[in-house]
């Protein structure tokens, strides 16, 4: 299947725009508006950031007085903040503050600070909006992106932590939450405790009380004082972020899925061993470079794929299990990007004319040469009520070459659990029905029936 030639074009920054067509990412820049950024991109510090994976690589294609043309490599699978785990949000926020602080030493600053400027390669965040880098006024102690950082990073994280608002709800807000969005839901105690005292209560009081007094953003101090005060402002934001981070690590949630791999009673230790061996052997036979793990849970098979040399994107709907997968990938330095995504309800496109962010499936088509669908098919069939032929069609759409699939027979205890009295409707779903569903799209390369009657396949796309 050919790589989808989808076009994505940014337009909000008057200093320049990015156009992504297929695998090419071109950035047109109004040279006069972005001289500081263009100069910085050629500096040793920028080269060092690129080598460390913190900043996207940039190649100067053409440069003249009016416009410059830059080219960046495409991040194979871009994910959006509404698909990230809290740990990913915190990593992106820390990178934004790190880079901003380091830029101060060069007389520069980030002119905006939103999670949309960050993409992930595995668990490593990378700043892709190079035009955020701007000249700093040495006499100003203000970070003009302070409010945006609070709205787009800190308030969604704090609302998730204290009010249980899902981070996926950030899809509704282009520029994050306003203090007024949270205020009605905070108790009196929460309002007067950090982080909400500084991020919600005081701003709201000042917003309604003295809005006219803050029209002037041109505060001038001596450069010595301004840089100290600016660093203090940034460290204040960092303190709030660390508070959220500490809270996150102190309340590692468990869910019915996060310990699934260890507690699955329908899998004996031998069955699990055999399944892992099959997946490993299938991956060695297929030699994929980009793997998509659907229903990845805590990432056991994602890690096997990454250890076989593939870069892996792992989708699951369970937050604690995805967090666990993230932490293990980070600890073991594996190229895995676990995100919260559901193949049955994929993320829609968003923004102006539905064209500012791509849908989950549009970002995925043609990107993966192998898709893992292990222990998922019965959930799609019975819980999501997706017909078998439609599941196979999606599988074919998502992989360019290979698929590793686990077929769950109708007598399997988990299949029966999900049936809930609908035996008559699903009784016909046996292995023969599966073989019939896949035969037009795939050929069976490997097949192994486990002692617990589940069947594993390595399929090759026709």
């Amino acid at each position: 299947m050919a790589t989808a030639e989808l076009t994505l074009e940014t337009f909000r920054d008057p200093a320049g725009s990015v156009r992504i067509v297929g695998d090419r990412v071109h950035r047109t820049v109004r040279t006069a508006c972005a001289e500081a950024a263009l100069r910085f991109l050629q500096s040793p510090t920028a080269q060092q950031w690129v080598a460390q994976g913190k900043l996207i690589e940039t190649r100067f294609v053409a440069r003249n007085d009016d416009d410059s043309l830059l080219e960046h490599p495409r991040v194979a699978f871009p994910s959006y903040p509404w698909e990230w785990t809290p740990t990913a949000w915190i990593a992106a926020a820390n990178l934004t503050l790190d880079l901003c602080e380091e830029l101060l030493e060069h007389g520069l600053i980030l002119k905006d600070a939103t999670p949309l400027n960050i993409l992930f390669r595995g668990t490593q965040p990378v700043l892709v909006d190079v035009l955020s880098i701007d000249q700093r006024d040495p006499a100003s102690p203000l970070w003009l992106a302070y409010g945006q950082f609070v709205r787009t990073f800190l308030l969604p994280l704090a609302a998730w932590q204290s009010l249980g608002w899902p981070l996926s709800a950030s899809i509704q807000k282009r520029d994050g939450y306003e203090p007024a969005d949270l205020a009605p839901y905070l108790s009196f105690r929460q309002r007067w405790r950090e982080p909400f005292r500084s991020l919600v209560t005081l701003p709201l009081l000042l917003e309604t009380g003295g809005a006219k007094a803050v029209q002037n953003t041109k505060v001038q101090q001596s450069p010595d004082a301004a840089i100290v005060v600016l660093r203090r402002n940034l460290s204040g934001l960092r303190r709030h972020l660390h508070q959220i981070e500490r809270h996150l690590s102190s309340r590692r949630q468990s869910s019915r899925w996060s310990s699934y791999a260890h507690s699955a009673d329908h899998y004996s230790a031998d069955d699990q061993k055999l399944k892992r061996k099959f997946v490993h052997d299938a991956l060695l036979a297929a030699q994929p470079t980009h793997v998509l793990d659907l229903g990845s849970n805590s990432g056991v098979y994602s890690r096997i794929a990454a250890e076989c040399g593939a870069s892996v994107v792992a989708w699951d709907t369970d937050l604690p299990a995805t967090e666990q997968s993230w932490r293990k990938a980070q600890q073991q330095n594996l190229n895995i990007a676990p995100i919260l995504a559901n193949p049955a309800r994929p993320t829609p496109p968003m923004g102006w004319r539905n064209a500012e962010s791509l849908s989950l499936l549009d970002r995925s088509r043609g990107r993966f040469d192998c898709v893992l669908m292990l222990g998922l098919i019965h959930h799609l069939l019975l819980s999501e009520q997706i017909p078998l032929h439609a599941i196979v069609a999606l599988l074919r759409e998502l992989t360019t070459s290979w698929a590793i699939v686990e077929w769950i027979p109708a007598g399997d205890p988990r299949f029966v659990d999900l049936l809930r009295g609908r035996e008559d409707l699903y009784r016909h779903l046996d292995e023969a029905a599966f073989a019939q569903a896949i035969e037009m799209q795939f050929t069976v390369v490997l097949r192994e029936a486990l002692p617990n009657s589940r069947i594993l396949y390595l399929l090759q796309a026709r």
Partner: protein, 84 residues
């Protein structure tokens, strides 16, 4: 006299009520920039921190606690010998 006094009291009470009502009226900030509160917090904090920074520098200079000042003083005291 009581009538004059009562009228004066009623007038005073009316003025007080008017003042109170005016004070309690909330202006309609339909077009207030929603980001202005966060900017105000940063602005206030920055001005305070800037003020403290200047004050601290002055105190340090007064008591000659600033290491750079001490260094400059030391250089100054060393310089006349070499220049002479």
């Amino acid at each position: 006299m009581p009538i004059v006094r009562r009228t004066a009291l009623v007038a005073l009470a009316s003025v007080e009520l008017l003042v109170l009502l005016t004070a309690l009226t909330k202006p309609a900030y339909g077009y207030v920039d929603p980001g202005s509160g966060l900017l105000a917090v940063q602005l206030g904090g920055s001005m305070l921190a800037g003020g403290l920074f200047v004050l601290r520098s002055k105190i340090r200079r007064l008591f000659r606690l600033n290491p750079t000042d001490q260094k400059i003083e030391a250089e100054k005291s060393a310089a006349p010998e070499s220049s002479e």
